[in-house]
Symmetry: C2
Subunit: 257 residues, 2 copies
Amino acid sequence: MEHPAAATPETGPAAVARAAAEADDAYRRGALDLLGVIAYGALAAFDRLSEDARLAPTLPDKLHMARMAARQVSHVDQVRDRLAQFDLDVVVAMRPFHEAFNGFHDHTRPKDWLEGLVKAYVGDGIAADFYREVAAFVDADTRALVHEVLADEVPGEGASGEGVPVEGGHADFVVARIRDAIAADARVAGRLALWSRRLVGEALSQAHRVAAEREALTSLLTGTVDRPGRDLAAVSRLFSRLTENHTRRMAALGLQA
Amino acid sequence: MEHPAAATPETGPAAVARAAAEADDAYRRGALDLLGVIAYGALAAFDRLSEDARLAPTLPDKLHMARMAARQVSHVDQVRDRLAQFDLDVVVAMRPFHEAFNGFHDHTRPKDWLEGLVKAYVGDGIAADFYREVAAFVDADTRALVHEVLADEVPGEGASGEGVPVEGGHADFVVARIRDAIAADARVAGRLALWSRRLVGEALSQAHRVAAEREALTSLLTGTVDRPGRDLAAVSRLFSRLTENHTRRMAALGLQA
């Protein structure tokens, strides 16, 4: 359908309505991209955690990692159910993000159990922080789902049977094991700090790739003319927050960021 | 504690009570062994299915395998909850079965996606049949749990949202993919039939090892003086049933047993 005035700026009520519809559509695409990236991130995390489970030095460690891996699959299914409400197949929604995640994982293959643990902690921490920031700009239902998925729990490990939040579950698990390993051999700290810096570098490089390719996702953060997002100064403060949180996590592990 | 008459058969009421208590204890140990073998089998299956997920040729296939792997973790947790009622840690209950399962998996590493699918179908089929047979001789609650764990479902794949039983879910998934592969290249059938025979041979060899080492488990089937089980003819009929079911599954795949 062509509009006679398409080449010049439009100002009438129809043009305003059309611009609003386009903005809504862009907004919706951004939310769907957010769900797609979370789903594929969870599936890739399943792959990684199940590989970590294989490297686990003890059976309880293996079981813990297997549980964490299984949780990722339920995250994919939660997102799938939400996407179905938009008539979007989760497989289709995930597709744009294969390359970035696979690139990240191919370039950061843990050599051993400890590197796997640090990777899960550092990588998932940054990703979760980022998703939470982006989720501030999507509709309330999508935002609630994102927070639900990220408020990760390890079911059955708590005395209450209610599950333990990851901050007191998987994160504590990783912190305890890394600290024990450093206590047993101080040289481990240097190696793992180096490894973390590589992980962060690779994660940011892939994040930039996604940002460049998925304008809908990026514009959730930066905003559009019709819909306020964050100005560039605010985006740069966001990256400062990500870095601060990362530094805090590294300190918890007993590592220098 | 020594009994003066320990060297000769006892006949008094105290002796009968003692024999009954010992039989109860043996019976209980058999049930715990059954739960332990199921739990470790599920954890080993998680390992295998998550590796299969990595080999999956498409994203929907990968998601399906990841879901199957995640289900295995929930099986371990169901068994763990039951064992906790007997004050037995699932890690302790699983320990006697590491060697047999690890031996089986080490000796039957799938070379590709199709071999992985056949392994899951053939191996889990025989194991599930066997667990069901043994479960006939344990207490009702344990039996109910075993049947619940084996009545495997793929949640979220059914239109009803109630989940699809594996016979209409994972089994159908495997059958469809193997039949498609044979349709595309008839030589696949010969290779996979050979592979299945190797799987069954290795499974039976490891099953004999477990039977020899875990008397409590075996005596559930064969019975003891105080508790009727099956006579040897019945046990041999059991193995015939396992073989018949296996042959039926092979036929479903389009393979010669």
